[in-house]
Assembly symmetry: C2
Homo-oligomer: 464 residues x 2
């Protein structure tokens, strides 16, 4: 290896500019002129900033003045008057459930699950259904500026395939559950399938394969322990629903003599690759356990509200140093995959819940959708901020829509007024996946057609 060949790359990646080396470097893409919200450690906001991308990696972030003349690129994107932000991170989804969006709402939980969701899943969820639902969800997420999502469902290998094809980053967990489901009939088979799934995808540039034990109340202790061992062996994330409802807490207490997080800690099921979805009903002592394990939390404000699950103690989790990201949950319980609404909601919900209008300020809500979300998924070394060395997951959004005017504070503008429809251009891993609101990696008419076909099938399966 010739040091002269790699030196410029090192200098670019580190941002160091040695005297005499200030030559013009070739990169793949330059984003110029926008208001760059880096979400780096110093939370730098660059009024007229530049981002340079090469080989899928951000090689430089700075002001136009700092970087003037240092780069040339075949693709220069003019972001003047727009925000250039880290791609948003949706930390909890069941993406194929987009096809169940709105099949049944506003029902008592048991009725909702047993009369609609479970029969609809049993009667419809095939690999082909999962692929169609994933494509629909990916289209919606890209259009809203989500560049990474964390999913748990069935046929996760098909989800990974569609996600990779669309060029989206995913932490994707194959479900393990204690009863027969569409892809595996036993937890033993699901566990073996999850291991195969992880081995297949573990070196993919976009997919971080994971294992997803559904919840403490649906997966036996033995399997939770074996899943922890698998996670350690393969360095794979563990995605699990935890303490979503009070009923779950009561069940686990009755069954194991401890609340869910304490139980998981006691059996050694928590580790530094755990992502706990919901964590609505957790005590201060359990928050400490999550922190000690290094687990992340996926907070789903809209789903928790719609299903009347409760309000997660997000200010307390954050105060104790737990990384909390934002998630939409599945479209059957939200009913969309819109991170902008979750940001707005998280900022407002915890103010009214605590009685303190200073709780979860806009900058913190925006962090939860970006860098803190990446930390919650244990992938902050890859994404979540605009910094040299990170993968190029970048969103360009309008700042001049009437509902955004005027602008006094960029975080207020982003969290309280910016909508998914304000996202213009989306780059993931250095690849353009949407430009000026045109999707570049998905077939829009086909997605619409499939949604209509599966809708009819779902209605037939429910006898409607």
């Amino acid at each position: 290896m010739n040091i002269r060949n790699i030196l410029p790359a090192i200098l670019l990646a580190t941002g160091i500019c040695l005297p005499g080396t200030a030559q013009v470097a070739s990169v793949d893409m330059l984003i110029r002129g926008g208001l760059v919200v880096t979400m780096d450690k110093d939370r730098r906001v660059l009024d007229t900033g530049m981002v340079a991308v090469r080989g899928g990696v951000i090689v430089a972030v700075g002001t136009e003045r700092e970087l003037a003349g240092r780069f040339r690129a075949p693709l220069v994107i003019d972001a003047a008057g727009k925000a250039v932000i880290p791609g948003l991170i949706n930390t909890h989804t069941h993406i194929p459930m987009t096809l169940f969006r709105g099949i049944a709402d506003d029902l008592e939980l048991h009725e909702w699950l047993t009369k609609y969701i479970f029969p609809a899943e049993a009667g419809n969820v095939t690999e082909a259904f999962v692929r169609a639902g994933t494509r629909l969800g990916l289209a919606e997420m890209i259009r809203g500026g989500t560049t990474t999502y964390c999913d748990m469902y069935y046929f996760e290998d098909a989800i990974a395939g569609e996600t990779a094809k669309a060029g989206v980053r995913g932490v994707l967990g194959q479900t393990v559950i204690g009863f027969p489901v569409p892809d595996y009939k036993t937890p033993e088979d699901a566990l073996a399938g999850a291991e195969r799934f992880i081995r297949k995808w573990k070196d993919h540039p976009l997919i971080i394969p994971a294992i997803a034990p559904h919840a403490p109340y649906t997966v036996a202790t033995e399997y939770l322990k074996r899943i922890r061992a698998l996670s350690d062996r393969l360095q794979a994330p563990v995605l699990i629903h935890v303490s979503e409802t009070q009923a779950e807490v009561d069940t686990i207490r009755q069954r194991y003599g401890a609340p869910p997080v304490r139980y998981l800690a006691d059996i050694g099921a928590l580790n530094e690759r755990t992502v706990a979805a919901h964590a609505v009903h957790v005590s201060d002592a359990e928050i400490d356990l999550l922190r000690q394990a290094g687990a992340g939390v996926a907070h789903n404000p809209q789903s928790n509200m719609k299903l009347a699950s409760g309000i997660a103690p997000v200010p307390a989790l954050l105060a104790k140093g737990v990384a909390v990201g934002l998630g939409t949950d599945g479209a059957a319980s939200n009913n969309d995959l819109d991170l902008w609404e979750e940001m707005d909601m998280a900022a407002k919900l915890h103010k009214v819940a605590t009685g303190d209008p200073r709780a979860v300020p806009a900058a913190q809500a925006f962090a939860m959708a970006t860098i803190t979300g990446a930390e919650a998924l244990h992938i902050a070394h890859l994404t979540g901020s605009l910094e040299a060395g990170k993968r190029a997951d970048i969103v360009i959004a309008d700042l001049d829509r009437f509902h955004q005017l005027p602008r006094y504070n960029i975080y207020s503008t982003l969290v309280y007024t910016t909508k998914a429809s304000d996202v213009r251009t989306v780059i993931i891993n250095g690849r353009l996946v949407m430009r000026d609101r045109r999707l570049l990696t998905l077939d829009e008419p086909a997605i619409r057609r499939e949604a209509a076909q599966y809708r009819d099938a779902v209605l037939r399966s429910l006898g409607q």
Copy 2:
């Protein structure tokens, strides 16, 4: 008057089709082929419906089959594949405060008001400022499908002028308050100004002039009584903030020995033209008093959450027969004027607040943004539903965006997934004010320019 001239109009308006009179009638506008959500008493939803408009009035609503061949019009709008719904009603705004959108967020209430909002208002609110802020707010509201709004601010005559010019319906209240404000220095002057304002606008086809005593804690008993008398004399609505915070309730209890609604009832300040904004902290007995008076309530879920005011007992208010509409409040405390988000929020907030996922179902949330909102403003005879005889306030919205697919239930689709950006075309009082997302009554570049100019002035006035 010749009976032959007016008979067709009567027949059209009543929807009666006499034998032998089934000739083709000329109307101004036909909206064809859309999914018509009427919000009439029977909550009729017409899969392929038609709406005929003449002279600003809806003359017929029916299926294509029912109305086939009955009308011809110079303007036929094809709404195939789209939703045709009543225009949305924002029951509580301070529209010029759009220019303060995001000047200060996430602060303790006293600091927010005394360090930012009050100085910003004192230093900037002139008639010209009010006109610019109104135009910005109108642009945002029209783009989101709001056709009627209820406002209380200073220089309300200027707001009425801009609103009429833009072709938007408004219940607009001139503020009366117990201390010097930008337009009037004493409540006596404000009261006289309000009377002039009401007399000037009372026969306008779009503007319903009102009087707006700010709140029980900022307006003396004497003025509240005189305002009630003025309301009775001129048939003008009374818009008032009531029981927004616990601090207000404590103040009023201490001052008058009763909580705010009870106090207002005791002094005879409530009538069947009252619109009470917020009603967050009201007892069951006070809900009964609101019902007995025939007062409407403007519920502002996002503002109440963001300012940590509390959660209004909306299910109880509705159960007891109080008409509750939805409002955004001013853009400084929301930070937008988006009724779609308020619908979604109202449906979700009251589920988690009551612990009952059946609370405020989608159809009820949609009613609050349309017909029940019209009832809350005491204008349900004019607007709020698509019915022959009502003014033609009509919105056409997309139903095929990815975030809306597939569609199982129209109310779920509208409330849980449809966004302001999905609104395509807006008709108010029979006039097109937006077509295919192009505003027809407002100067978009001028609004952007003014927003930037006033932003700079506001920052200067705050010493920034």
